[in-house]
């Protein structure tokens, strides 16, 4: 399997606080990579660095071999233009913890917004959006507005929106953390389906059960460093490090 995402030497500080401390990270194409760890460990920052929502202080990110947010010119990294960065982002789907659907647009309008902007003809974009809504189990909700939906339904719309551009990879930032416990299952089901279809996914999650069952690779992050990583059986069921054991022990 080839690497879909490579992060090398990622450093990010907020003031004196180092959120990411020399992180090296790889996510392989066609696999599900789960990032787990206590809150404040830098999980979300790492994820947001991958699509340049959070520019790094040093280190770099590549997606499918292409540098993100910067380009190499005469031995130095130069920041890309806003336009070029936006173009790169359109190949990377992003699903937020709080959904961030556009409340003034209907479900269908939310999903077709990005394709239409990219020049996909409207009938084609609508057809594709309807397919996606079927896939996430919301084909009857195309005309509804986000606030008329439950949290789980909103998050499924957000997933359809992220998939509308047929991205090379989809990033999920704690996609079930803002949901009532009974709604978590319907979103995880959609994630499982995507994983089964071979979508490249990087998922920041607190759902250890989901990570154990669905992820191909688990990364445990603490205090801005990767403590250990490997297949879920190893990291989640037989962790080597005391810190990982302590964290997992608290979750049971």
């Amino acid at each position: 399997m080839t690497a879909a995402v490579v992060v090398r030497g990622a450093v990010k500080s907020y003031g004196a606080h180092r959120v990411l401390d020399e992180v090296d990270f790889i996510a392989r194409a066609g696999e599900v990579t789960a990032i787990v760890g206590p809150s404040g460990s830098g999980k979300s920052t790492l994820l947001r660095a991958i699509n340049y929502l959070e520019p790094l202080d040093s280190g770099y990110v590549t997606v499918q071999g292409e540098l993100i947010g910067v380009r190499l010119h005469r031995g130095r990294l130069h920041q890309l233009s806003e336009r070029a960065i936006l173009r790169q982002r359109s190949r990377i789907g992003f699903v937020f913890q709080n959904f961030n659907l556009f409340p003034h647009l209907s479900v269908l309008e939310n999903v077709i917004e990005a394709p239409i902007t990219k020049g996909v003809p409207k009938p084609q974009a609508v057809a594709r959006a309807q397919e996606l809504l079927v896939k996430v189990g919301l084909k009857d909700k195309a005309g509804a507005y986000p606030r008329q939906l439950s949290g789980g339904q909103q998050q499924r719309v957000a997933i359809a929106r992220a998939l509308a551009l047929e991205p090379d990879l989809v990033l999920f930032d704690e996609p079930t953390s803002a949901l009532d416990p009974e709604l978590v299952g319907e979103v995880l089901t959609v994630l499982r389906d995507l994983a089964a279809a071979g979508t490249t996914m990087v998922v920041v999650t607190h759902e250890i059960g989901f990570a154990r069952d669905v992820a191909d690779h688990v990364v445990f992050l603490d205090a801005g460093r990767i403590v250990e990583q490997g297949p879920p059986r190893q990291v989640l069921l037989a962790p080597e490090h005391a810190r990982t054991r302590e964290f997992l022990g608290k979750l049971v």
Partner: protein, 315 residues
């Protein structure tokens, strides 16, 4: 322990089925009726005083209300309000975006503009502009600090009409900028992030995602601002432009003893225009609440029809 607690003891035992079948008699509010009566009496007295006081000269009021000279003034008031509203809002949007930009020079320029034009009283600004010939005798169009292609004499260019529109717009833009900015910063930061994550270009992020949501927060404040502008146009009479108030003022000075009915004419027209603006505001708010509310509230007409239906007057 799953057994339900025993029903509380009731002084006079009642069958549970009976309790369930009874409707609740609403609490009576006798003092509300008293307060209503007092308010109605006071209102009737006020109307009576208005109608019977001969100083209001209602016959003269009827004479003046649709006089062509008054309607001309009204039309000018509408033009000034409309033009200043459009230019002021456009300028306000540009200034608001400048104030929110990452460029410190643009931010400072916008801040300076708003600071300056909010500090100058409108009447002073209008007098400055009306006397601009004293400040600049020619205005030219060309390369900044370089050669000019066209030159105007400030005297020809600045008709009082132009001065009024310019002054009102400059003033309006400063206030509109802050209203627009308040609307934009009221939109959740997550919306911009989501738009950026989808790769929408900056212009589209604003046009399609931020501004429509900001508009909802902007409308009530901007309607206030527009009503202020509508009445504020009365200041331009000092440039001897005869808008509604200017007409009232000049007619009152040539028709002695008519000042009260003329002022009432002006007042009623201003009230009518303000009322129309309020109606427009209501429907705009309703339109932009799309998606923000689970169900859009009924229009006053729908509400009226619903209440008539319950009384049995209409179906």
């Amino acid at each position: 322990m799953t057994s339900s607690p025993p029903l509380p003891a009731v002084a006079e035992p009642v069958e549970e089925a009976e309790l369930l079948s009874h409707e609740v008699v609403p609490l009576r509010h006798p003092w509300r009726w008293v307060a209503t009566a007092v308010a109605l009496v006071l209102l009737a007295q006020a109307v009576h005083a208005l109608v019977t006081n001969s100083a209001f000269q209602w016959a003269a009021f009827g004479y003046w209300f649709f006089r062509p000279v008054v309607l001309d003034g009204l039309w000018l008031t509408l033009q000034l309000t409309g033009l200043a509203a459009v230019f002021g809002l456009l300028g306000g949007i540009v200034l608001a975006l400048m104030r929110l930009s990452r460029n410190p020079v643009l931010r400072a320029v916008a801040w300076g503009y708003i600071w300056l034009f909010r500090s100058i009283p409108l009447i002073v600004l209008l007098l400055f502009l009306a006397n601009v010939t004293a400040l600049y005798s020619t205005l030219s169009l060309g390369i900044p600090f370089g050669p000019s292609f066209v030159e105007f004499s400030a005297n020809d260019l600045l008709s009082f009409y132009f001065v009024a529109v310019l002054g009102l717009s400059l003033n309006e833009a400063a206030y509109a900028a802050e209203i627009v900015r308040s609307g934009i910063i009221s939109v959740d930061q997550g919306q911009l992030e989501a738009a950026a994550a989808l790769g929408l270009p900056k212009s589209r992020q604003y046009r399609r995602i931020i501004l429509p949501q900001a508009t909802r927060a902007i409308i009530p404040s901007y309607a206030n601002q527009l009503i202020g502008l509508l009445k504020g146009t009365s200041v331009v009479y000092i440039t001897s432009l005869l808008e509604l108030f200017g007409v009232v003022q000049t007619q009152a000075s040539v028709n002695s003893g008519q000042i009260i009915p003329l002022l009432v004419v002006g007042t009623i027209w201003y009230i009518i225009l303000t009322s129309l603006l309020s109606v427009v505001q209501y429907y705009l708010e309703r339109h932009f609440s799309r998606g923000a509310l689970r169900t859009v509230p009924p229009t006053p007409f729908q509400r009226l029809r619903a209440s008539l239906r319950t009384v049995g007057v209409a179906r």
